[in-house]
């Protein structure tokens, strides 16, 4: 088992009557890209703030890199971009990074490398105020990368970026992960998490609903069949996969079936005289899973009342 570098235990933050984060226990392991997934206002940013010591938890505890959140032993080894980049508007991008390098006590020569990394080297001399949203966001990532931190905490790093910028940001994160960088990333974009994360924690309305690998979340593989006549195809599918594993979907039949059993299904359909137009793997998107889970949790909490 690989080393765990972030552990939280029952982390809770209450603002007045509002429970922003409720009993969140999550773990991040060294070397993985951990996706913290949830809709806006679910408590992602508040949780990340507590991990960095910017906000004190009302209850519960957390350990980052074996140290208390907010202690120099933890913070000095984390690079963070939390809820949008916070920089001096009148300083150039490069000078902003120089200020941060001085706070860290690392060499200012690291600044140019960080700017290069996020492709801002050409605009490093321009004042921060004049940057586009995407450039500001990239400067935030550059600042997080300063000093080669052991853990990178990125709160919605693709926020405000255009599609090309989003793709660049994802590529950068994948690249960093490839070099063994541990990344804790929050997002409300399912496709993004699905694409770049190893493990996912799903949070909704302050509660961590589940924590597992992307593969586990997506569940067993499924197959989509478009064939005629549909009713006869449905009967065959039920016989092969079992009655509960089959449903009508998009004018065809969708069944939970291991990929190895697809030939058996095809033979059954042909034998039954069904015309096959299409058989293809049909993966559940994280989106489907997410909506199922949040709906379930909403239902659960309504029943509690």
């Amino acid at each position: 088992m690989s080393e765990t570098i972030v552990v939280t235990d029952g982390l809770t933050k209450r603002y007045g009557d509002q429970l922003a984060v409720n009993d969140v226990s999550l773990t991040v392991r060294r070397g993985e890209v951990y996706g913290f997934l949830g809709p806006n206002g679910a408590g992602k940013t508040t949780t990340l703030r507590m991990l960095l010591g910017l906000v004190r938890p009302t209850r519960g505890s957390a350990a980052i890199l074996g140290a208390q959140p907010g202690s120099p032993a933890a913070v000095a080894r984390i690079g963070a971009l939390i809820e949008g980049p916070g920089f001096y508007p009148y300083l150039s991008g490069r000078d902003n990074l120089r200020v941060m390098a001085r706070y860290q006590g690392v060499s200012e020569t690291a600044v140019d490398a960080a700017l290069e990394r996020v492709e801002l080297a050409g605009r490093g001399g321009d004042v921060f105020r004049s940057y586009s949203l995407g450039m500001k966001q990239r400067l935030g990532v550059a600042s997080a990368l300063l000093g080669d931190p052991e853990l990178l905490v990125l709160d919605e790093p693709t926020n405000g970026l255009d599609p090309a910028g989003m793709a660049d940001m994802r590529r950068l994160i994948v690249e960093l992960a490839g070099q063994g960088q541990t990344v804790l990333l929050s997002s409300h974009l399912l496709a993004e998490v699905q694409e770049i994360c190893d493990r996912v924690g799903v949070i909704a309305r302050g509660r961590l609903i589940t924590e597992s690998t992307v593969v586990e979340l997506r569940g067993a593989s499924a197959v989509y069949v478009r064939a005629e006549p549909v009713d006869r195809a449905l009967a065959v599918a039920m016989r092969v996969a079992g009655e509960d594993a089959v449903q009508l979907h998009d004018g065809g039949v969708r069944l939970d079936l291991a990929a190895g059993r697809v030939p058996e299904l095809a033979r059954g359909l042909v034998t039954a005289g069904v015309d096959i137009h299409e058989i293809r793997p049909s993966e559940r998107s994280l989106e489907d899973v997410f909506f199922e889970m949040t709906a379930a949790s909403r239902l659960g909490s309504e029943e509690e009342r």
Binding site: P72, R77, E83, G86, Y88, L91, Y103, V106, S107, D148
Partner: protein, 302 residues
């Protein structure tokens, strides 16, 4: 760990600690204060005000023989005020109210802006403890205040030497001890007001609110309270120990003409002795700094 030629680490696996950490934060803060146009505007405005009111206007009044602001004072008195040996008593005249207000704006902007810009959040996630990073800000502001006061001293010398030479006066240098006392007193007044600005900036978390409230307090409320204290004598116990009273009395004790004496500078008082006003200024300086640091250490940065 990779090391650069300068001996600084490339990675942040172990940040600096203790005094070195405060020094690192101070260097960081000095870089951003030095490049902040607002700092230069404030410093420039104060130096210009000082030059105008302490030297230019008095000299014009002397040269045109119109007396000091129409009071008909003997014009020779005006000339002695603008010569080098008068610097110790002239130096702090404008500081209790005008210089102090500028220093307070400086502190309030430096501390208050970071909340809206999100730069406190960024600074506090770089590695140093909050108290260390905030301590760096206080030290850096101290450096700015000292720099401004040194520039003011240089400007005063320049102006008085120029006037003395033009008027063919014998240049008599001020007593070094008196000069040091005066500059020290000026520093205390300025640092106290800057710390007050920092405190209001931290408490309000907004530069606009902090500047507004701070100015209302220093320019209006304290004077009103002193006015009321003339009617209700019990209130004097309070008004005698207000920050503005301490600042004004310090200037008064150093020889600046008090506001009650007709042509004295507004804000200059003779309520407290030099020693008590110095003690009170130090107490306020420490109090404001400590309260600001404690609330900064505890607050949630949401």
């Amino acid at each position: 760990m990779n090391m650069t030629r300068a001996g600084e680490p490339m990675s942040r696996t172990a940040g600096p600690t203790g005094v070195r950490a405060v020094a690192a934060s101070t260097r960081a803060e000095l870089l951003r204060l030095r490049k902040w146009p607002a700092m230069w505007v404030l410093a420039g405005v104060w130096l210009a005000l000082n030059l105008m009111f302490a030297y230019v206007f008095n000299y014009i009044a002397y040269a045109t023989g119109s007396g000091n602001f129409g009071t008909g004072e003997a014009t020779d008195g005006l000339l002695t005020d603008v010569l080098p040996d008068a610097i110790p008593r002239i130096y702090t005249g404008g500081l209790p109210m005008f210089g102090g207000a500028i220093m307070m704006i400086l502190g309030a902007l430096a501390a208050g802006s970071g909340f809206g810009w999100g730069t406190w959040k960024t600074a506090f996630t770089q590695g140093p403890r909050r108290l260390t990073a905030f301590g760096g800000t206080l030290v850096a502001l101290g450096v700015v205040v000292v720099t401004i006061l040194v520039a003011q001293l240089a400007l005063n010398f320049g102006a008085s030497i120029l006037i003395g030479t033009v008027e063919s006066q014998l240049l008599v240098w001020p007593d070094v001890g008196e000069l040091a006392q005066s500059v020290g007193g000026g520093l205390l007044i300025s640092a106290m007001w800057a710390a007050a600005g920092v405190l209001i900036g931290v408490l309000t978390r907004s530069p606009a609110m902090a500047v507004g409230l701070g100015l209302v307090w220093s320019l209006v409320v304290e004077n009103l309270l002193r006015g009321v204290a003339n009617l209700i004598s019990e209130l004097e116990y309070v008004t005698n120990v207000l920050p503005g009273t301490a600042a004004g009395s310090m200037a008064g004790a150093l020889g600046a003409t008090a506001e009650g004496d007709g042509d004295g500078a507004p804000g200059v008082l003779t309520v407290l002795s030099g020693a008590s006003s110095a003690a009170l200024l130090v107490a306020y300086l420490v109090l404001f700094g400590v309260v600001a640091a404690v609330s900064m250490r505890r607050c949630d940065l949401a």
